[in-house]
Amino acid sequence: MPLKILVTAKRVEDPESKIKVKPDGTGIVTDGVNYKMNPFDEIAVEEALRLKEKHGGEVVVASIGADKSMTEIRAALAMGADRGILVKHDGPLDPFVVSAILDKLFEKEKPDLVLLGKQSIDDDQNQVGQYLAERRGLGQATFASKTESLESEAEQKKQPGVVLAADGKSLRVVREVDGGLVTVDVSLPAIVTCDLRLNKPRFASLPGIMKAKKKPVEEIVAASLGVDLAPKVAVKKLSEPPKRQGGLKVADVPELYAKLKGEAKVL
């Protein structure tokens, strides 16, 4: 049964860039920072493509943000997604608002499945998938993973980790939870968020990049969706994590005890 899949591709800071907080704590210094697709979203796109390759259907990629987010849509299209939707919005967003926007996109696209990253690596909030499922009253399976390792044969063959039931009505999802894996069945349409060990995302080939340029991308102004765009969470201040102190060598246990008690005050 062909699946219509809506998948998200958020623009985030490249984790390999050096991130510095602005002196006044209002944000980060963006000069010299590179951007890329949220790595968990890359996994979601990969999973969507595998499902499409196996069952047929369509992969629609959505990104919400400033014009620059078009780059991440193009990146997903270059990987193989069919078309894109850019919801344009400058300014801060939070998971509550993002899920409201995705809810509108769901209404418009009526996908069988929404695949998202379990969280985005900028703010690490891990809420959008859950909110979206709640808003739509649909089943959700978060932290999708799989039993096989990323070095396994199934992975080499690029099998989807999320498995469509024979009747095409539900998905079997292996979820990563504290201390192990849980397998759940979720009826379609469903909301699935992807964890790290679900798959190894492909990278776009150069012909893929060229083809992506010609794929359609619809642009929608967020304000036109009739959603309250005011974030519910206000960021008060950002600060750098405390600098790690260097280690030191102690001669014996009594000295260690003295330091732990006297200096570190942990005893």
Binding site: T71, R74, A75, A78, A204, S205, L206, I209
Partner: protein, 583 residues
Amino acid sequence: MPDKKNASYVQSLCMGEIEEEIIVPFPKMEDGEKETLGQVLASVRQLLSGREKEFREWDVKAEMPAPFIEELRQFGLFGLVIPEAHGGIGFGSTAYSRVLQEIAKFDGSVALTVGAHSSIGMRGLLLFGTDAQKARWLPRLTTGEMIAAFCLTEPGAGSDAAAVRTTARRDGNDWILNGEKIWITNGGMADFFTVFAKTPDAQTGGKASLTAFVVTRDMPGVSTGPHEDKMGIRASSTTTVRMEDVRVPGDHVLGGVGQGFKAAMRILNAGRTGLGGGSVGGMKKLISLSARQAVDRQQFGRPISEFGMIKEKVGLMVVETFAAESVVSLVAGLIDQGYEDYAVEAAISKVFATEALYRVSDEALQIAGGNGFMREYPYEKAVRDCRINRIFEGTNEILRLFIALSAMNDVGQQLKELASVVKSGVADPIKGFGVLSGYAKKRASLATGLVGDKRSFTRLSPSVKHAAVVVEEATRDVAIAADRILRKHGGKVVGKQFATHRLADILIDLFVLSAVLSRVNSIVEEKGAEGAAQELAILEIFSGRARRRMRSNINRIDDNDDELVKVVADHAFEKEGYSWDTL
């Protein structure tokens, strides 16, 4: 607007003129291509990262495994410069050069495999191919189903490309090729060979000249030798290519019978920004290795990054890289803007970037100390891999001759006209007067240092004034020097290599400095002087050093020991060695 067909910034320098509009503002890539390039670079990084171990292994074994070449094909790396209409990416020189830069950060052999295909292997087809020829081969070259090689060098024809002995004999509509090419990059895996052979030229009464042919591996009589055991870029395929009575159809001629020498030069010129880009990539990689190494390594109770001599090395590595990147990008930008006479500029970018990389890799190894010498570290491979860059695609000596002699061409032209006018007396007084007075005026204004037409920059920000003045003064000096050299040696200047070497080095410094100047100027305009503090420092360092080098070279035009050096060299040639001992 400068005339894109004939304008050359460097050639104008020798006339004492600064063709500012050619290089200011610094070329900028158009947004659409920039976005595609960004995606391609990101994908290239994904393809090549985390494979250091494999690259190292292939270096030791001197091979590049077939499955990896297949990966490159699937990835689409062989279609970078092929137009979209033929299924390629259609990158211009700037974007192409930038991709090679990225590949070279990971491995020199991989960069060369891709580069030899796109820069030179099939460049002749792109430049001179007929529509039918392009339609026939480009689609397969794009996918890498056919990999391309450029076959010029022979045992007796290295720098002297015109000495090629491979022959092409007419047989009806076909040609019969015989001969052997050596050191052909991609020879072992290529299916498409651009081969240069001697053809008797009907127009010049049977006098032989070169012609370029497309030879494919499936033609009977084509064979390639074993993989050469090399110092560096060991995984890159280098082999002989033999042709024994190979029958090549008439429609395989590229760019016309007898046009081969010009074609070979144009191909090499067009490909130079590829090698330049690769060199810049190598330097960037080495700087990140060295910076980390210097911060991590403690001696005398401190990271060695705190020591002045290490700071000096790393600081200058950055300056050289910035300069090489500027000149390579400027040349690529000129090509993309449609300038046709960029051969001297391209040669300068190749010489500067390949020599900068060699210095940078040597210093990077030094910063790593004993570890630098060990094979488990990447430095010794970097030093080995980059050494070839100064030799192939035109040795840097030959390119220096080319830079100096071409740049002096216009001056020589003027002098020649001057001479013939003087000699012919009053044959054509009006025209003669024109030449004479035009050149004399120019000379006079040079000598007096008067600021006149095109003597100075007019569009630059005041923040870069200091370096701009260095370029302006050196331009006046170089014009006077070129004039002096030509007056001294006349037509014999071709044999005066000590003098041409000096002039070439001055022109290299002057053009590279102009590139840095224009680039920093554009950055200042964008970010303001305060935001561009680092770049302004780099400009100041480079311009100061370039000024001192140029000054020294100019002083040595008359005050030198050339004749003595020749005597000592000739002695060594005669004795075939060193003649002294302290015993």
